[in-house]
Symmetry: C2
Subunit: 672 residues, 2 copies
């Protein structure tokens, strides 16, 4: 997609918008006489107007051709990550993260899935967690650009974070973050993936039991800004080099990392600085009223490089296994400052040059733009209008605000293109506002100014531009993440899909290219990366690989090394899988034995995945070529069970089957 020619083509087609392709009947005859011109006839017959016909051609990706971009979307309370291609908007993959997935054998008895899921669920703290509410995916970055190595995502419900590896598109780690009951602020990575940031949403009771009455909200509840160190080799969370900053018990909302001119800073929005706790049946106000009383909430400005120094100097306290910089230290060390922001804002987004922090007003029709140079100066000058009830200094609004741009009703989130324009979602207006981002983004003449407004369908939350969170956005495409679809798709019952709309950023006015129903989750945010950056992705594991560390598994076998070893009640079966059989294909055991299956897919052919399933035992594994999977199962039920390959692999797939005899107590197992 090149911007130039498309603008002119669009301009021509724009004239047709709203009507069926011009001169339908007559021109079809004409088209049929010119090669390729029959396209107009097809469009006409299908009732597509000129704009729609162009959109069809601009979004179609034939099989065997690849999309230009990958989109990584949170699945919301589905607990997953969805991977789409752009411009086709085809769903390429679902990556299970916080929720089990039977197709991928994630959480159905295999070592890898169980290790990840169980590792992310602290039995001392919670019931075994089998879901999460994924909100904000964050691709790893090098020098402020996506590098295609890892992706991080938060669990808004349970205050957790996860990492998936883009080598094999699988989740490798879930981390239950101390002191975060819930999370929203992040995750984002710093420009070289030094840290991934995540903060509380609702504040956490910091009493020993985790219980505190709401009457002690101000005293016993706290927010936390978490800076998780990333291992530069593995992308995993390095708790020992991570820290938190204590925050007041406001509701910390979205967050973003500084870059270039603002490198070293992090920014978090907040609301409910009123510290309302509801009580709608006991004389209180609903939270929606109580938390919207103040005209201003506080933009949190965090100097994470200073915080890192303080952490390294040991000026922290221990709290549930995490090193925490206390609020008074954060204030005295100038790590934490506030700036007023119009009430109950939502998104905070740093523009590609790093100069501007754009805050969506939510209950205010403006985007408020802060300038990092002004912020740095105001901090240096201690240009304070006072402190909040916890002693955090509040910079004067005038000293840091560079512009307020009236965009429309309900501005939420802002994204950026390659030409210095910003795009802000307007929830209440169901629209996207395009506006120029002032002199430091190249708009010296027009300054900060609304350019146009694009209606979307309906109730847009986040939006996402191509490489839009990096130092060098691509322009070209934008996705509107609409929360409601209402009438855009045929009825599929009482629960409606969301609606992703793909927008062509190269046209004036902006054009919606397609609507894509999202009927398997509720994405909140996405990031869009150039497909050619995913250079680390592999399609076949080296023989005998343990996917958790991409190293040879100690349980791997080659064909011919299959064996069964009994050690008391432990039965170790080293099994191979290849088209179209398991070796061994018979296992004799007794009730009370523990079966340890070590299965190697000995294939090295792309796409030669096998499954492994056992009836009645809730066991389901997916074995990609080269992969080793381990399954431990207590044989607590007698029976003769037909294990089978659950992934259609070959002409004799249905014959890829075996038997596990589990003899009742007192019965001698058959010898086959």
């Amino acid at each position: 997609m090149s911007a130039g020619p498309q603008v002119s083509r669009r301009a021509a087609l724009g004239m047709l918008a709203g009507g069926v392709v011009a001169g339908a009947g007559a021109s079809r005859l004409g088209f049929q006489s010119s090669s390729g011109g029959d396209l107009g006839g097809i469009a006409s017959e299908r009732g597509l107007d000129g704009q729609q016909a162009a959109a069809a051609l601009e979004t179609y990706v034939p099989g065997g051709s690849y999309d230009e971009y990958f989109v990584f979307a949170s699945g919301g309370h589905s607990g997953q990550i969805f991977v789409f291609g752009v411009p086709s908007m085809r769903l390429l993959k679902v990556i299970p993260v916080f929720t089990p997935d039977a197709w991928q054998g994630y959480g159905y008895g295999t070592d890898q899935g169980n290790a990840v899921l169980e590792g992310g669920s602290d039995p001392a703290k919670s019931n075994p967690l089998r879901w999460g509410d994924t909100h904000h995916p964050a691709l790893s970055e090098t020098e402020g650009s996506y590098d295609g190595r890892w992706i991080y995502i938060n669990d808004r419900a349970n205050g957790r974070i996860a990492m998936a590896d883009l080598r094999d598109f699988k989740c490798k780690q879930i981390f239950d973050i101390p002191n975060l009951q819930t999370s929203h602020g992040g995750c984002f990575v710093t420009p070289n993936s030094e840290y991934v940031h995540i903060s509380t949403m609702t504040p956490t009771p910091v009493t020993e039991s985790g219980y505190a009455p709401l009457s002690r909200y101000k005293e016993d509840f706290r927010g936390f800004s978490t800076w998780l160190k990333l291992d530069p080799e593995t992308g995993r969370f390095d708790l020992g080099n991570s820290f938190q900053i204590e925050l007041p018990p406001y509701t910390q909302d979205l967050a973003d990392a500084g870059k270039l001119t603002s490198f070293g800073f992090g920014f978090i929005n907040s609301y409910n600085t009123e510290m309302a706790v509801g009580g709608d049946m006991t004389g209180g106000q609903p939270l929606e009223a109580g938390s919207t009383a103040n005209d201003y909430d506080f933009l949190h400005i965090i100097d994470w490089q200073k915080a890192e120094e303080v952490f390294k100097a040991g000026n922290t306290k221990d709290l549930n296994g995490m090193k925490v910089i206390p609020m008074d230290v954060a204030v005295s060390e100038k790590i934490l400052h506030f700036a007023p922001e119009p009430r109950n804002p939502h998104g905070i987004d740093v523009n590609p040059t790093g100069d501007y922090m754009c805050v969506g007003g939510k209950l205010d029709p403006h985007a408020s733009v802060y300038d990092i140079e002004l912020i740095k100066t105001a901090i240096a000058n201690e240009d304070y209008q006072g402190t909040d009830p916890f002693g955090v200094p509040i910079l004067t609004l005038e000293s840091v605000l560079v512009a307020q741009v009236e965009l429309g009703a309900g501005p939420l989130h802002t994204q950026f293109d390659d030409k210095g324009y910003a795009y802000t979602s307007l929830f209440v207006d169901s629209a996207i506002a395009k506006w120029s981002l002032g002199p430091k983004a190249g708009h010296t003449d027009d300054g900060f100014k609304l350019v146009e407004t694009l209606p979307v369908q309906y109730n847009i939350g986040h939006l996402c531009t191509a490489e839009g969170d990096t130092v060098s956005p691509d322009g070209n495409y934008m996705i509107a993440l609409n929360k409601w679809s209402i009438d855009r798709f045929p009825p599929v019952g009482t629960l409606h899909p969301q609606n992703f709309q793909l927008v062509d950023l190269t046209t004036t006015p902006l054009t919606v290219l397609s609507d894509t129903p999202i009927g398997m989750g509720e994405p909140h945010y996405t990031q869009m990366i150039k497909a050619d950056k995913l250079v680390h992705t592999i399609e076949v594991y080296p023989p005998g690989t343990d996917p958790m560390n991409f190293a040879p598994s100690e349980f791997a076998i080659k064909a011919g090394e299959e064996r069964i070893e009994r050690q008391g009640k432990d039965l170790h079966v080293y099994m191979s899988a290849m088209r179209s059989h398991y070796t061994p294909d018979q296992i004799q055991a007794k009730v009370g034995d523990t079966l340890h299956l070590h299965i190697t897919n000995v294939e090295q052919t792309i796409d030669a995945t096998h499954g492994f399933a056992i009836p009645q035992y809730n066991i389901e594994a997916s074995l990609d070529p080269g992969e080793v999977v381990n399954i431990d199962m207590l044989l607590d039920r007698a029976g003769t069970f037909a294990m089978y390959c659950s992934e259609f692999c070959s002409a004799l797939h249905l014959e890829m089957q075996g038997w596990i005899e589990v003899a009742p107590q007192g019965v001698t197992p058959s010898v086959g």
Copy 2:
């Protein structure tokens, strides 16, 4: 889509196939001067050839326009049903069936999901089952046509079946079928949804313990053909009026119902009539070798109307709660006959007129066609070539076979159009064979004859034509369900998506319109129904509805009726949800209490779904407008927990939140 004009347009475009739109550079200038003609320029710039550009226009469905067909696909071992639109191939909805789904709150603490999942998992028989391997969806029928009421689907892994209601697109019942450890044969419904059929795949040990050594395979293992009666009002399974027919311990494979001329019959393929059990490490043959020794296996022909009479006459035995017609009775009452079929066949499909049973050879390059008139005559004449080892009479092949058509390597499944053609998937050839279906399908001149072969990418399993399982297929579209995608999509790790290819049935030769990656499951079969048949679908529940029975819930409240009632340790909270608050929004409880949440979404606005989630307790609910959800939770963990709306509902969605205080033992709960 009308067949006539499109054929001619296609014929013109076909000339361009393989090259970029003809005369790219020059003709683009020409196109730009004629309105709408610029489409050729866009196609050319994007590198689309004429065929691809036409396909783009023929598959694009703008937002707000609806697809012509719904496709219901099994998710394979994802345990779900996927709903796509045709021709756009957009995923409209995922219906969770055998596996929990957090987005829909299915299996995460709510009464409905838990009731369905737990109802389908017998603790006496199996571990709590939280997955299934969905294979063959079956839409309910009236007079042999889809009626848009219900859909059934089998769990191949655990021998279960489920029903989803197309009013709200939700699973209402999972039934763990006695005597079926695994299942494959079905499900299909009879032409008026009298019964849904499902049979065993691997045979079930019928000993009391469920254990039998493989050495007693012939004696102790049996297959079962199950005829589950459907309640004509609710679509639920009616066990009391259901029955099974005992079968030999072969592997019963796919099945289909007779219709029109073959109404009253059911047909099941089989393989492994050798009764091989593997033993590849103990001197035996792998099953893939042992089960392919015989030249012929047996097509099972079942007269279910006769079986119904025998069942009603009480000529059955009880087996684990199911009435079973013993094999000898099935033989003596002429309920069960066999016909030879080439070795290890796979699909059995009855054509729209009901006359022909088409068997895919799998290891034989032919489709074998049986004629119901010949079958009836042969049965009447007792034209037997002998009996199998269990005494089941085998009809002579010559007496029942009307044609064998050589199609290619690995024929599996057959579907049908509205012009008497059959389409058979060729797994080994990665192709679809189109062939004429003989005189009773209108082909008196050309008879049974291969017409053309369409390459697909790659390793096709099932295929599906529009309304293809009914008495009146639509033609128009076909979907190829390809098991491997290999290079058709960009790499997304070691586990590849499947590939659904949409095929235009109106063109000669056949044309592939699009490739759709399936990266969230492994569909086996689909059915395609006209979208306008889904007349029962609702978008909003009447106020206070219990979705399990579409009746008013006893726990429903209206706004203003919210209350908290304590009964000892049981705390009943009658809560309302509406934009943007819960009432009540504070709950005070103690460790050891049981919380009973009765939440009514009091909204009646389309798409106004709310969520309800509680951190650390694994609780996540989805509340569609009008819906009532009940959650019982033992408060075993102290803490103050931020419950919240997990489905973005409104401008103040983030403020839609409340608190649950769970005081530790010895602490008096706050009063708010």
